[in-house]
Amino acid sequence: MLPEPLGALESLVEALPVDQRVNLADQGAEAGCRAAHLLAEAGRHVVLVEKGPILGGMPVRYEDVFPRLECGPCVLEPFIAEVLHGPHAENIEVHLQSEVAEAVGSFGSFTVKIRKSPRYVNLSTCIGCGACMPACPKSYANPVNCGMSERKAIDFTFYGGLPNAPYVDAQACQKLKGEDCNACVEACPIPGAIDFDQQEEVVERSVGAVLIAVGGELYDCSQLPQLGYGKLPDVVTSLEFERILAASGPTGGTVQLADGRTPEKIAIVHCVGSLDAERCAYCSGVCCMNALKFNELISHKLHGAQVTHYVKSIVLPGKEDHGLYAKVKGRETTAWVQMESAAALNISAGKNGRKVIRYGKENREYDMVVLMPAIVAGASVQETARLFDLTVDAQGFLEELHGRVDATKSKVRGVYLAGTCQAPMDMSHAMTQAASATGGILSALVPGRKLTLEAIYAVVDAERCSGCRSCLAVCPYRAIAYNDEAESAEVNPVLCMGCGTCAAACPTGAIRSRHFTNEQIFAEIEGALA
């Protein structure tokens, strides 16, 4: 005979009313902008949080993007302009120079605290004329150009970055350090556009879902000291070379050595840190195409310059990628050296400022070396994982619900992922992920419709709960809280994913794992052995 609970099957579909109005895209990388635009177009209110003073993530800093060598800012800025000034821009609340400081709640009802640093420039009145910059007496190494040039304490991130307004770096500004300086305010033609009364503020927003697009970082090349990075001049990373190629970069787009000479022989070292069991075992998937792009741009800018690729393997996954490869391969100035690993190279100083790359017994000389580091999950990925209680995978990236079929959902319901924070990827893939996550959010949070709960969530019988809190310790989703008044643990059915670990851990049998109850499983065992 079946135990009683099986007689009455519990409802498989249950719904709760939820906050549908707001979605939050966290950090304004290109994927975040794309998602914000799509969500706003669908009439949703979006809170966009960007760490930096401009929107567009990393590719907006690349003058050319592979495979067609289109201009990165030109491809992205229409989306950014839509976010800032488009017909649906009133649905998007943009927070620049901001970070999520705290996140609580669950799918349908998150509460997020956003810490906003002051820009000291009023975005609604500044006309972006740049009159403040020459007046500013303080210069320092420009982080956007990887320290290869200087910026003023009040300056643009780079020309063309949106929104088109400078920002004051509080660490560099003399006035903010208490010195008697008012040079920028005096030079500014718009009264009040520069506003030193702005203060850091913390704002709180309620949102239904969260999209994380915080991006990744490059592998730290100084971890491979044999490559000479940081010690030898003209041994640069892909990001530094990207800025050298950019018209808004430190050399105005001229490829030149640190001493101003023009390089004739350039080496590009692939797979720095990648496909390396001791470092990043994975292939970052974008560096080969980036290296081929560099080769093309060098050939355009420096006629006759020799480019030698040190390769472990060549990866060309996109349908348009082989074209660029064929073009580069067909050039007489291109050479290839097959290497076992970038870690097996040794780069040292040669004569006349040259760099000597030794591989095995062979020495070759170059004027400049470009290192192509692996893409890694950076500190912001770890911090975001902590804030939203997300898991990271073996490679350190934010873990998706399922790598093949649900790569834009995290393991926490209502938290979506897009871009390099989930896995190394190119712009096209990040944009596709943004659209995919947007689709997920729009179909999960429909105005007027209640949120459907997982049928298999756990419930606590308050009468039997002894208050030991064992369940709180084992729940991976912070779905269980202890209600002091009721003297019982309580499961939030929105957060509960139905793994049933709490039911197994409960020493008094007070927790029932719906549709996987003890009675049901006992009956299955009896049936299986009957």
């Binding site: 670990t501 039911a503 996987f516 003890n518 065992i525 052995l529």
Partner: protein
Amino acid sequence: MSSQAHIKTQPVQAPAQPTVGFEPRIVGFLCNWCSYAGADKAGAAQTAYPPNVHVVRVMCTGRIDPQFVLKAFDEGADGVLILGCHPGDCHYKEQNLRMIQRHRLFLKYLRQLGYEEERCRLDFVSAAEGEKFAQVVGEMVDTIKRLGPLSRGRSQGQ
């Protein structure tokens, strides 16, 4: 474990000679995401494996209460096979690690009851490992055949 467990098991000794023609009955608790899919894969690939394991699906090995294993022994199982995601691959973040912890403790309890530890095996089978599923099932059946049937207190008239 809750008071709902109806444990009728008694300390036993395995028979000195394995029973001739003995076909063990084994209950397999498989997690929905990795091992159940792995078993599915073995089936889809028509991989041959012994039919002795009766599968009970749970969402996660973290759901497996030690009473489930005792219940299986009590209902006539000669062995229990628990299969979950590999450590680090859990669909529910890390609940398979909770299972590993519980299994270690449970084996101690099993020893106290006088049962051989091998009668309750924990292993990891991913959704891709149809072959491994068949291999683990084969090994488990061989092990239980070697140990012989589990004699129970109940069958001794209690």
